[in-house]
Symmetry: C2
Subunit: 599 residues, 2 copies
């Protein structure tokens, strides 16, 4: 049996103690990080959630305790009483490096087997193993910091929105399945044969109802679920800072949420953020950055060459433009020494993953000029391009032409980020924030052969576009907004339609009859008939916000128990099989015949 | 089309304005609660989440606005600009009863159909209809207050535990199904044919893992799920204030959580609570109150008469005692004028619902004595009982005898609460708090023919009982504790076993081999091998805590969107049917053969 704490009570976390506490009797507790046994002296690095503190044991003056300390091994859990004293050899790497505890009472509270990997940040362990033993991985100071910072960020969020009169209201997790949107997780019902609950993709409908109920300002740090094939940075369950405001418009939303970001960056990271954030329209973002979530920490902006080239003899360019697309380029300033022709070939492969058919280039060094396309242009076109691009010796121009503007945007947008990364144009520790506004209200779905809502069907059109909803949906803009941090969308939302007549027109424009709409959104449509205030809302992706704030590469590094790519959890090995009896109670059985219909 | 806010911005919630604001130009917004049109003057009661404010319209001085106001109907959403002025006829019933806004600009932001019921607290609407139109029901000031108070209570919880170094850490909602405990909600997996996630009944395993990971103090306001047949006061999803502490024992837990209750009662309700709370053992609670969650706001304690009656000739009593049970009674002081013999007969039916075979009584009025059992006793027995019960004229003694003590406890425990209720012994607005400690570690399951854990299998035995775990499980006590408020369990928890050897012995005592245990708890058992600190935890039932604090009768009155008895939600009509395609993707099909049940 292990020792008990009986009679001892921790007085301090490890790193609370400083040189000011010298002479004080303290009790500390934690895990054995490191042992150095010098024969007559023994030193332990004790680790708790706050950090590391040295414990000292002396064979000469406290033999019994010393002998007990000699039995310690890594990851043993101990509690130690002793006196704070100045340390002989100062360790500048740790906060408590100038003190140690001379231990007079040692309790071994939990023994430990040798862990499957060392509990250090420098450990180079495969993520698979880390996740299998997540409870050990979480002991590493890097994970401790991430989870503790996440707590802090969420606490600041709750304080901030509370101060701004937002009420945190819980909405259900077991809700109705709707056929719109991403794939729902379904939950069979035992009491209603053949019927299912869905897990919410977001609390969207409920938060709108809460506005109709008069709660005025709603907040929830809400768990959301999407049964989609996981990309690198997605989780089947994720967390949103979800909010909605009544009697408010986009100005209120932006101001309130800029305030939150300013506050959380300051309180959690000590970083000052300027407000208001810049705002750029969706159209401008696409034109200048090829992305609706532009990273504006660096230049490398897209430049449209279409007007110069629209009559060119060069079929590839002319054809793209004639087909409704464009020719655009970025100028990688001083990029020539980074980008050999071989490197440029690799970039061609890179843009092809974004469906570009190729990458044209001009490479200007001190003593040579090579170009994959200039030979097909006349002198005037060539000079006009060089001039517009501000091309100088040492620069590399990278050009994409396509009849589909989205291909041009996607490929050049990704390429500019890739180049910024390679050329080290992004300063670490900088946080670049902006709003993207004026999104299209609709987008045309080739698959469904109709316009679909870009944001969602409750999004309010811009005032000046309300009359065009039926006549010219392609050019209607939405009162929607995204917040972008360092080239990632961290949040977004919209002003909602609160007029049942306008809502009905929206549904028609989306190709729904009111019967379809009622089938899909049922009670929500009725709800708007009984007095709906103007309202608008927003949701932050919490996992991603925390990841960006802590400059992590993966949201898995800011979630205590994440799932992996195939939506399983390696530690508990879920999902798992269940007893037949359980399935019978739920009126379902396994359908082994069905083929997986994953896309 | 409705008006827009364009140019107007709310300056105040309705009840923020007072007599001190007279002359101030303000903008308010909300719903039309009531209209009084006097022909040339018109008054509106405007309702927002803060309460009611009177708007005044004058045909003589502001005709256009007056005429617009005449088009208003109940539940219209409006925004109004005007000047605060003193009111002619003071209304003492509302906070703003001495002022009104003389309106100069009125915007009709949302029209409203006549709602299916009036939005007032006095409305006597069936809960069914209220829940179908929950978004309207939530407009009632009673529901507004409940949800706003719930926000406040949760905010205080988060602040309090944050101040005490608890970290809020999110644990997964899609977890592994375990066969122990209540019935899990299951979620089919699309990517893993035939496998299922479960929704957590509590974050129990994860919070213990977080202690092993060194987070030291964990908090989560956690959604939990149980697919059980719903009793009146249960929901399929419910919320826990869930916490766990390392290097701590029951004293720390009790002190910390008493502090929370003291704080939340003060901050949310302005009520002072004395700490520390009283503590009584499980055994004492059962003996004195017949319940492990005793309501001690009143007396009516159970009194054991078994020693007096163990040799009685009266077979019913003697048999109960000889069979291992007891004869116990309560004295309903001055109850004779409340309890006619007919009433007592009804109480007999009442105790029968708790499996009692009958209810014996003695009724003492000023001029008569009637008893259902004294005639079977000798004089000595009768006198001894009267004396022990402190029986006086006007009293009624109610007696239950059974060979199963649990029947005696359950029926008399319920009866004393019923009598207190009927006799008005419970003062409203009083909050009675106590800890029940020293629960049995095990209870015998007739169904499984073995001992099962009363709390859960990770609960630490009392130090002095550790050696008896195998030898005498029936008499082992647990380091477990429940917090009881006004006769309801609001929270509970235990010290956990952190020694793998002792855990193994517990599993054996529960009849599990280590293989069984590993099958059931898998990774958790491994986790404890790598250095486990002493730890303990607790969870509050948030819904019930809020309900008790607000003195509501049902947890549905403190949940924004609750489900009803059959686990459905009347508003959205979930659960519902889903497309076959969705089921095929999940590799399941409806098993109509299972059990015919109503759709």
């Amino acid at each position: 049996m292990a020792d008990t704490m009986n009679g001892l009570k921790r007085t301090n976390y490890c790193t609370e103690l400083t040189i000011d506490n010298i002479g004080k009797e303290v009790v500390v507790a934690g895990w054995v990080q490191k042992i150095r046994n010098l024969g007559n002296l023994l030193f332990i690095d004790l680790r708790d959630r706050s950090g590391i503190l040295q414990l000292a044991f002396d064979d000469a003056t406290a033999r019994e305790v010393f002998e007990k300390a000699e039995t310690l091994r890594g990851e043993y859990v101990i509690m130690a009483k002793g006196v704070v004293r100045k340390r002989e050899a100062i360790n500048k790497d740790i906060k408590t490096g100038d003190i140690e505890i001379f231990v007079v009472d040692l309790r071994i509270l939990g023994k430990a087997q040798t862990p499957p990997f060392e509990i250090t940040d420098t450990t180079n362990v495969k993520e698979e193993l880390r996740l299998k033993y997540r409870y050990l991985d979480l002991r590493r100071s890097e994970m401790q910091r991430a989870i503790q910072m996440r707590h802090k960020i969420v606490k600041v969020a709750r304080d901030y929105y509370d101060e701004h009169n937002f009420l945190e209201i819980e909405t259900p997790i077991l809700i109705k399945s709707t056929p719109e949107g991403a794939r729902d997780y379904l939950v069979p019902s035992r009491l209603h044969e053949g019927k299912f609950y869905a897990l919410p993709q977001s609390p969207q409908l409920y938060k709108q109802l809460l506005m109709l109920s008069g709660f005025d300002r709603y907040l929830q740090i809400a768990r959301c679920f999407r049964d989609e094939d996981l990309r690198a940075d997605r989780q089947p369950e994720f967390t949103q800072i979800d909010l909605e405001m009544s009697f408010a418009d986009e100005e209120d939303i932006m101001c309130t949420n800029e305030g939150f970001i300013k506050r959380v960056m300051k309180d959690a990271l000590g970083v000052d953020i300027e407000t208001p954030f810049r705002r750029i329209s969706y159209a401008e973002a696409m034109n200048r950055y090829g992305s609706d979530k532009p990273d504006t920490r660096f230049g490398l902006e897209l430049i449209d060459l279409s007007d110069i080239l629209k009559n060119t003899e060069f079929k590839v360019f002319a054809g793209a433009i004639a087909g409704g697309g464009s020719v655009r380029a970025i100028n990688v300033k001083d990029g020539a020494h980074h980008l050999s022709r071989k490197e440029i070939d690799k970039l061609t492969d890179f843009v092809k993953t974004y469906k570009a058919k190729g990458l044209a280039y001009t490479r200007l060094t001190e003593d040579s000029e090579t170009s994959s396309f200039e030979k097909f242009l006349n002198e005037e076109e060539k000079n006009a391009i060089r001039e517009r691009m501000g091309a100088k010796k040492g620069d590399v121009l990278l050009v994409v032409a396509d009849a589909d503007n989205n291909v041009v945007y996607d490929s050049l947008g990704a390429l500019r980020c890739e180049m910024a990364d390679r050329l080290g144009l992004i300063k670490e520790g900088t946080f670049d924030l902006l709003w993207v506004t004026d999104f299209p209200l609709f987008e045309y779905s080739e698959e469904e052969n109709r316009y679909v809502a870009k944001h969602h069907p409750f999004t309010m059109p811009k005032v000046e576009d309300i009359d065009m909803v039926e006549k010219d949906p392609a050019h209607c803009l939405a009162r929607a907004y995204d917040m972008v941090m360092n080239g990632c969308e961290v949040g977004g939302g919209s002003v909602r339609i609160n007029d049942p007549e306008l809502q009905e027109r929206m549904f028609k424009a989306l190709g729904f009859t009111m019967e379809d709409a009622r089938e899909k959104f049922g009670f929500l449509i009725d709800a708007y008939k009984y007095g709906a205030p103007p309202h608008c809302g927003m949701a932050f992706g919490l996992d991603r916000l925390v990841m960006l704030m802590l400059e992590k590469d993966s949201i898995r590094d800011v979630i205590a128990f994440p799932k992996v790519q195939n939506a399983s959890e390696p530690m508990s090995q879920c999902p798992n099989t269940v007893e037949d009896k359980s399935l019978r109670e739920l009126h379902i059985k396994i359908d082994a015949s069905a083929q997986p219909e994953t896309k």
